[in-house]
C-alpha cells in the first residue's frame, strides 16, 4: 500500500478520534468558559483532521472522499494511537491525556513543518500555532489540578498512572514511517521521545505529580488493534452517515 496514504491517514485518525472525544465535553464542561475553551480545542483538532483526511483521500486516488474515510471505515481500519481513544473520564483525565498529546503534537508538527511533502508541511505549519495554545491551556490545568487540592491532585495522579502506558506508542516507528523518513516526508518520532519525556517530567514535577515507575507500554493502534473504547466512539460518530449514506447537510 501507498506509504504516504497510510501515514497521512494515521495522522488524520489521531486528530479525528481525539477531536471526537473532546467534543463529548461540549455542553458538559466544568463551567461555561472552560466548556468553550475545550470546544475550541476540539474544533481546531477537527480542522486538522479534515485537512489530513482530504489529503489522504487525494493521495489514495481511489475515489474515496474525506467523509468516506471518516464514516465508512471500521474499528480495525482505524490507525490512531490508543491514547487518543481513551475515555474522557473526569476532567483531570481529559486534561492529562490532552497534555500528553499536545506536547507530542507540538514537537511532531514542528518537525513535520519541514517535510518535503508540501501539503503535509502546510498542514503542520497551520497546526503549530493552534497546538502552541493547546499546550498552554492543558499545561495550566495540569498545574492547577496537581498543585490544587488533595482531591484534584489525587485525580490527576490517577490519570497519569492510568494513561502513561499508552504514551510509548507515540514514539514507535515501523517500515512505513522509516521509509518516509528516508524520503524526508515524515519524522522519526523515536527521536522526539527524550524531549517529550523531559517536558512532561518537568510539567509533572512542577505540578507535584509523579511520573509512573512502570515502563510497560501498550500499543497496537497502528495495526488496528484497539482498546474496547474505540468501537463505541466510532458507532456514535458514524451513526448518521451509516443510516442515511447519501445525506447532505
Amino acid at each position: 500500500m501507498n506509504n504516504l496514504f497510510v501515514y497521512t491517514l494515521r495522522l488524520a485518525d489521531n486528530s479525528l478520534v481525539l477531536a471526537q472525544r473532546l467534543s463529548e465535553w461540549t455542553g458538559h464542561g466544568p463551567f461555561l468558559e472552560e466548556d468553550l475553551a475545550l470546544t475550541n480545542v476540539a474544533l481546531d483538532t477537527f480542522g486538522t483532521a479534515t485537512s489530513l483526511l482530504e489529503y489522504a483521500a487525494q493521495v489514495e486516488g481511489k475515489g474515496r472522499s474525506a467523509d468516506d474515510l471518516a464514516y465508512f471505515r471500521h474499528e480495525r481500519e482505524y490507525t490512531n494511537v490508543l491514547l487518543v481513544e481513551q475515555p474522557n473520564g473526569d476532567y483531570a483525565k481529559t486534561i492529562i491525556r490532552q497534555a500528553f498529546v499536545d506536547h507530542f503534537n507540538l514537537l511532531l508538527y514542528t518537525e513535520l513543518a519541514k517535510s518535503k511533502d508540501e501539503t503535509i508541511a502546510g498542514i503542520a505549519q497551520k497546526a503549530i500555532k493552534e497546538v502552541t495554545y493547546h499546550v498552554r491551556h492543558s499545561s495550566s490545568w495540569v498545574l492547577r489540578f496537581g498543585d490544587g487540592t488533595e482531591e484534584s491532585h489525587n485525580r490527576a495522579q490517577e490519570a497519569v498512572n492510568e494513561l502513561w502506558r499508552f504514551t510509548g506508542e507515540l514514539f514507535e516507528m515501523d517500515e512505513v514511517e522509516n521509509n518516509l523518513v528516508k524520503e524526508g516526508i515524515s519524522v522519526n518520532t523515536s527521536l522526539l521521545k527524550e524531549k517529550w519525556e523531559k517536558q512532561i517530567t518537568d510539567l509533572l514535577t512542577k505540578a507535584t505529580l509523579k511520573k509512573p515507575e512502570s515502563s510497560f507500554m501498550q500499543s497496537g493502534g497502528r495495526k488496528g488493534m484497539h482498546t474496547e473504547h474505540l468501537g463505541y466512539l466510532l458507532s456514535e460518530m458514524q451513526t448518521v452517515p451509516r443510516m442515511y449514506p447519501n445525506a447532505k447537510w
Partner: protein, 95 residues
C-alpha cells in the same frame, strides 16, 4: 455546571495597535492566566482583536445610579463645552 466558577473579570479588547481597549464583556476565572485564556476563547475567536486586558471586576469602582443626577445632569445645559462653535478647515478632514 457547578457554581464555583471563580471570581468575575472584565475583558477589554484592542482591535488594532494604537486603538483604545474597549470593554466587551465579563467572564469567570480563578486567576490571571486563566482569565486571559478564557478571554481569548470567549471574545477573540473571530478575529476581534490583537490584544487583551483582563481586570478583576472587584477592582472597578463604579458610579451608582443615585449619583446620576448630580454627576451628569449639570452638563446638559452647557452646550459651550462642546467644541462645535469652531469652523474646522476642510484640510483637516474628519475629526
Amino acid at each position: 455546571m457547578s457554581d464555583s466558577q471563580g471570581p468575575l473579570w472584565e475583558v477589554f479588547v484592542q482591535k488594532k495597535a494604537g486603538q483604545p481597549f474597549v470593554h466587551c464583556g465579563s467572564l469567570h476565572a480563578f486567576d490571571k492566566e486563566m482569565a486571559l485564556q478564557n478571554a481569548r476563547d470567549l471574545y477573540t475567536r473571530r478575529n476581534e482583536g490583537m490584544a487583551l486586558w483582563v481586570v478583576p471586576s472587584s477592582a472597578i469602582t463604579a458610579s451608582s445610579p443615585e449619583d446620576m443626577g448630580s454627576f451628569f445632569e449639570p452638563a446638559n445645559d452647557k452646550v459651550y463645552r462642546h467644541p462645535t462653535f469652531y469652523q474646522i478647515p476642510d484640510a483637516i478632514g474628519h475629526m
